[in-house]
Amino acid sequence: MYQVNEKGYYGSFGGAYIPEMLYPNVEELRLCYLDIMNDAGFKTEFDNLLRDYVGRPSPLYLASRLSAHYRMKIYLKREDLNHTGAHKINNTLGQILLAKRLGKKRIIAETGAGQHGVATATVCALMGLECIVYMGEVDIDRQAPNVARMKLLGATVIPALCGSRTLKDATNEAIRDWINNPIDTHYIIGSVVGPHPYPDMVARFQSVISAEIRAQLLSHEGRETPDYVLACVGGGSNAAGAFYHFLNDESVKLIAVEAAGKGIDTGHSAATMVLGKPGIIHGSKTMLMQTSDGQITEPYSISAGLDYPGVGPVHAHLFKSGRASFVSVTDDEALAAAFLCCKLEGIIPALESAHALAHLEKMKANETDVVVLNLSGRGDKDLATYMKHQNL
């Protein structure tokens, strides 16, 4: 009911709104992604690399000082401890194994915060494939350490110079590259966005997060399901992975946290569910921030990874169906939550994940409620921003 249907839709969202130039590539992927992913050899290779290279399973950690502070039982799913520092590698590893089976020689990717770019550059180095990463010029400036990492790993980083020069524009450039290189190139999309089958494929690769949460919670709490699962949403891949195996457990409350930027009504926001309406972006029908003329609005968030005017179609469906609640958190609230997490838990979270942390403050949970928060990434890349705002 919450999964993609055979036509590539989640309810009324999704589909594959792509120019004919991309049809053969996307169709090839659509026809074979499930067969490849279900192949025993593929599964073994993927699982082994997740364990030995990424370091999975990532811990499910009972954050006792945060729990005492907020008076609820808070578990952090430590995706920040993965190799490359975020959940992104789960997907890039899966897709690179898939690209190899498709015989592709060249990998392209878009990146916002740089986490997906680094994760892509990493697996390309691992597999010896050429890697080109498109990144908005604005993001290149605010995420310099990740740009350096990608280059060190052998990737070519190409700045996107159009529009708001952030994630949306980097994605446009990656799609244009794919149009121009239809034979030998695989596009590793970093989130549950893009034309079908990407949203479903990426969600499946990220679903390892919730599969592990179930098993780990069973050993910690004697039950597989928490009362709440909390995750930040830009495109929505970490949330899709954290929600995946709980979608049909209606007792589990799913909370997705969007970036309100400077505030919902300030004109500087990325809260798509509040500010958007149905539209088409990057090949998918979904909730979209846009003008009345149908031009895509330039979003804003302090966090480059949440700075996206659309959202994965699965989330648009979870929003519309009411299965998940969507809330939003401002830049300042996210910063304050990041600083609190540093102080109480000794964990420097990514700015993206700090948005999920900030919502804890607003939750009305009982002291005995079990809350699993997906700590999607670590904050090394955000040090410059944190240092600039330290006196808040």
């Binding site: 004919e20 049809y23 053969p24 949306k168 149009i179 239809p182 088409i280 846009q290 003329d293 149908g294």
Partner: protein, 257 residues
């Protein structure tokens, strides 16, 4: 009979030119159409500017960005075009992306397009299957032809399917690329053109992407019923002094052998 169909019955070596509405200046939409028509262009494609034109290269991206900055909207475009059929006989096409059309309302869009005298549309991100299932009946009701693209990677079976649902012509994209690609017809491309021509499709073919001067235009005409020029004309408008002179010069340079 639709003006597009009528044009292909009557003429070969058809020159179709694309421009972005509201570029270089907001008020240039109608003067550009009139200059193109006066210069002898057979078919005119009016680009509806979009913030995120995925299938376009840098030249058309830039013209779209400027047009939007100038204040162009789909609503304003219909307003500008309301008397266009008083002066222009040539077939007129809209070329634009799906989202602005969706926000305008698909039926409202078809009604207004028919009212101002638009003959057809090219919407690159409206996929074939979605068109057939969701939009074909509506477009047909208002006499709007939807033009499909094929590329060197489109399978023969799919080309047949597209041909079955096409009216007017089929837009044969010359190479796997965004618009404004490097000019020239390579051996691979001529194989592809010859292969498609040998299929004896119901619909005529126009070649587009990478057509920029009289040589590439003449080459394309050797394989198809004509060709489409976009980025090269936008560049000419950008570099020229006034719309009339730039257009006349540009079109003459294409048609002169």
């Amino acid at each position: 009979m639709n003006r597009i169909t009528e044009l292909f019955k009557r003429k070969n070596a058809i020159l179709s030119v694309y421009f972005t509405a509201g570029f270089p200046a907001l008020k240039d939409t109608v003067p550009v159409i009139e200059s193109l028509s006066a210069a002898g262009v057979d078919l005119i494609e009016i680009g509806i500017p979009f913030s995120d034109p995925l299938a376009d290269g840098p030249v058309i991206q830039h013209s779209s960005e400027l047009a939007l900055r100038n204040g162009m909207t789909l609503r304003l475009l219909f307003e500008q075009l309301k008397d266009i059929r008083r002066s222009i006989q040539a077939p007129l096409l809209f070329m634009g992306y799906l989202n602005p059309v969706l926000q305008f309302g698909v039926e409202a869009f078809c009604i207004q397009a028919q009212e101002v005298g638009i003959d057809g549309v090219i919407i690159p991100d409206l996929p074939f299957s979605e068109y057939v299932e969701e939009y074909e009946a509506m477009f047909t009701k208002y006499g709007i032809i939807n033009i499909f693209l094929i590329t060197p990677q489109t399978s023969e079976a799919r080309i047949r399917l597209i041909d079955e649902h096409s009216k007017g012509f089929i837009y044969m994209v010359s190479a796997a690329s965004t618009t404004g690609a490097k000019a020239g017809v390579t051996a691979v491309q001529s194989d592809y053109f010859a292969r498609v021509r040998a299929m004896n499709l119901r619909n005529p073919l126009l070649i587009g992407f990478g057509i920029s001067d009289n040589e590439t235009f003449a080459n394309a005409c050797a394989y198809a019923n004509g060709a489409i020029i976009g980025s090269a004309y936008i560049r000419a408008l950008e570099q020229g002094t006034d719309v009339q002179t730039s257009t006349a010069r540009f079109v003459q340079s294409i048609l002169t052998n």
